[in-house]
């Protein structure tokens, strides 16, 4: 029986905007096994992003519990959360979010510095990671010198910096063309297989479907259904289960 890396129990999230209460999540139970590649899909406003933030340790539920590696996220203080984000979780964003004032290598080694690695260790590891994502000859480039796809690769290398158990990808292919997006998804799948790192992505991109082990469909703040990849019927032109 595989360990659950993320587990939610009746998670709800209510946002109060002035006098209006918005129920973003209305009771979500989810179990994500270690080593899985899981996609959270759903239309805008469905609570997809909110759920994503919950399982990624970026937000705390109003009621209910979120467990990351069996640790209740709500009980952690700021230092522990920072440690979690540094060592256990890697983040990939739609807008790449590479720090513009630093080179690719410096970006990748920044989380290593936070984790306490020496400059030499960090450098070696960083170069290795950049090579793995296919940017071995570009580590001294600044972000503005890199294409979108290359920046996302740097982001992936950075997310892997401290050998996390979990990678959270928020619309990783959102700002990429079809070809580049496919390459990125391929890279993520490879890393998932090679290192056994769990990948949770929130996405609209249907290219992600074939790479995912499971797909969680969110609708109106609740889990609509969870599909295994083998159950998906992918037809040319349309994809089953689209909201």
């Amino acid at each position: 029986m595989q360990q659950n890396i993320v587990r939610t129990r009746e998670v709800t999230k209510v946002y109060t905007m002035g006098k209006v209460k918005v129920e973003a999540l209305r009771g979500v139970d989810l179990e994500i096994r270690a080593g899985e590649y899981i996609s959270i899909m759903g239309p805008s406003g469905s609570g997809k992003t909110t759920l994503f933030n919950m399982v990624g340790g970026l937000d705390k539920p109003t009621t209910g519990k979120v467990y990351i590696e069996e640790v209740d996220v709500a009980q952690l203080d700021a230092y522990e959360l920072a440690w979690l984000r540094c060592r256990k979780i890697g983040y990939i964003f739609q807008t790449f979010n590479i720090i513009p004032v630093m080179t690719a290598l410096e970006n990748v080694t920044l989380p290593m510095v936070f984790a306490g690695l020496t400059t030499d260790e960090a450098r070696d590891k960083g170069v290795g990671l950049l090579k793995r994502v296919g940017l071995g000859d570009r580590f001294s480039h600044k972000p503005f010198e890199l294409s979108g796809g290359q920046q996302q690769r740097v982001a992936i290398a950075r997310a892997m910096a401290n050998d996390p158990s979990l990678i959270l990808a928020d619309e990783p292919t959102g700002n990429l063309d079809i070809k580049t997006g496919t390459e990125i998804i391929e890279l993520l799948k490879q890393l998932n297989k090679e290192k056994g790192v769990t990948i949770i992505s929130a996405t609209h991109d249907h290219k992600m479907l074939s790479a995912s082990d499971r797909i969680v469909w969110i609708r109106d703040g609740k889990v609509d259904r969870i599909e295994e990849r083998r159950d998906l019927k992918i037809e040319i032109g349309t994809i089953e289960g689209e909201a």
Binding site: E69, A82, N97
Partner: protein, 355 residues
């Protein structure tokens, strides 16, 4: 829930506490951020340069004015005091102890006077070689007089000559003082100056000078100057806060991302404080130099070369240090509020897209 903070023991061992707070990394990022937004940073810095330059120029002006007020006067007083001591000792009814005391005190001056006469003798003897017969006669007489003056019982005579030298010095210093006094009288116009001049006294400074030399420049600041300086610093302060808030706003993605990478709030605060401190430090240095030079040049144009004779190095060093402190503190304190706003930003902010 009986123990809200309880956690299964095996899980507790798995979560550590983030403690890496690398100052070097924060400094590196701060430096790079300045470089990347170079011209904007320069504009922010210019407000510090101007405010500190203004402050420093006021302090320099007042320091130089104070030095010109007090310097020559003190010199004259010191010379007069020595004159008085010696004169009293030379009076007919003076006790012998006073004379010997003066002789002791003036031993150095005496030997200086002696040396001067000996040098004069040597020069004249040298001149004798090339002299014509008439010149030789005059020179020989002079040498004779000098030799006589050097005789042991003529020690006090030597001293009298020395006193006349001192009196000449007083005249020279007074000569330097006159243009300064003239300026001050002109500057004050219909104010106190005329009344004092009418009484035949030296013109009084605009405000009462503080006792003691080094801090005098502070006491010399008029209320208007004080108000203007405070105002300049306040405007600069507000400008820095404003600029920093804008920067924080712009860099929401960077900040959110760093928090996702494990940066603590204090790390974010450090980045912004260091950035502001760097700009503040360099801006302050420029401001001090500019303010000092501008003011010194102006004072020299107004009061003449005497300004450089009485240049108040000590006061200005103190003023420069105080200005540096003011500038540094100002830039750091101004950055505190924006830096904390940055630190409180949620990591989720990194994911915001403008839709």
């Amino acid at each position: 829930m009986s123990e809200p903070k309880a956690r299964p023991r095996n899980a507790q061992a798995r979560i550590g506490k983030q403690v890496m707070l690398p100052w070097s990394k924060a400094t590196e990022i701060a430096l790079k951020s300045i470089k990347v937004r170079f011209w904007r940073s320069m504009i922010t810095m210019s407000s510090i340069v101007l405010a500190i330059a203004f402050l420093m120029s006021i302090w320099t002006s007042t320091a130089i004015t104070a030095a010109l007020d007090q310097g020559p006067q003190r010199e004259i007083e010191a010379i007069r005091a020595r004159l008085a001591t010696v004169r009293d000792a030379l009076k007919p009814g003076a006790p012998p102890s006073a004379k010997s005391q003066v002789e002791q005190q003036c031993a150095a001056d005496l030997s200086a006077a002696q040396r001067r006469k000996e040098t004069a003798i040597r020069e004249k003897e040298r001149a004798l070689k090339d002299a014509t017969s008439d010149e030789a006669k005059t020179l020989n007489k002079e040498v004779g007089d000098l030799r006589a003056a050097l005789a042991p019982d003529k020690a006090l005579e030597l001293l009298r000559d020395y006193l006349s030298d001192l009196r000449k010095e007083v005249e020279t210093v007074k000569g330097k003082l006159d243009p300064i006094l003239l300026q001050e009288r002109g500057a004050q116009g219909a104010e106190v100056g005329d009344a004092a001049a009418a009484k035949g006294k030296e013109a009084a400074p605009r405000t009462q000078p503080a006792a003691g030399g080094i801090g005098a420049f502070l006491g010399y600041m008029s209320p208007t100057d004080k108000w203007l300086a405070v105002l300049a610093l306040l405007v600069c302060f507000v400008g820095i806060i404003n600029a920093m808030f804008m920067t924080v706003q712009e860099r929401f993605r960077e900040i959110g991302t760093m928090k996702c990478l494990g940066a603590l709030d204090s790390f974010i605060v450090k980045i912004f404080l260091i950035e502001s401190a760097m700009l503040g430090f360099i801006g302050t240095l420029f401001g001090i130099v500019i303010g000092l030079v501008l003011s010194a040049v102006r004072q020299t144009l107004v009061y003449g070369w005497a300004t450089l004779d009485y240049f108040p190095r000590g006061s200005l060093a103190v003023a420069a240090m105080m200005a540096a402190l003011v500038g540094l503190v100002l830039s750091i304190v101004a950055a505190i509020f924006p830096a904390h706003k940055a630190a409180r930003m949620e990591p989720v902010a990194a994911m915001r897209t403008e839709e």
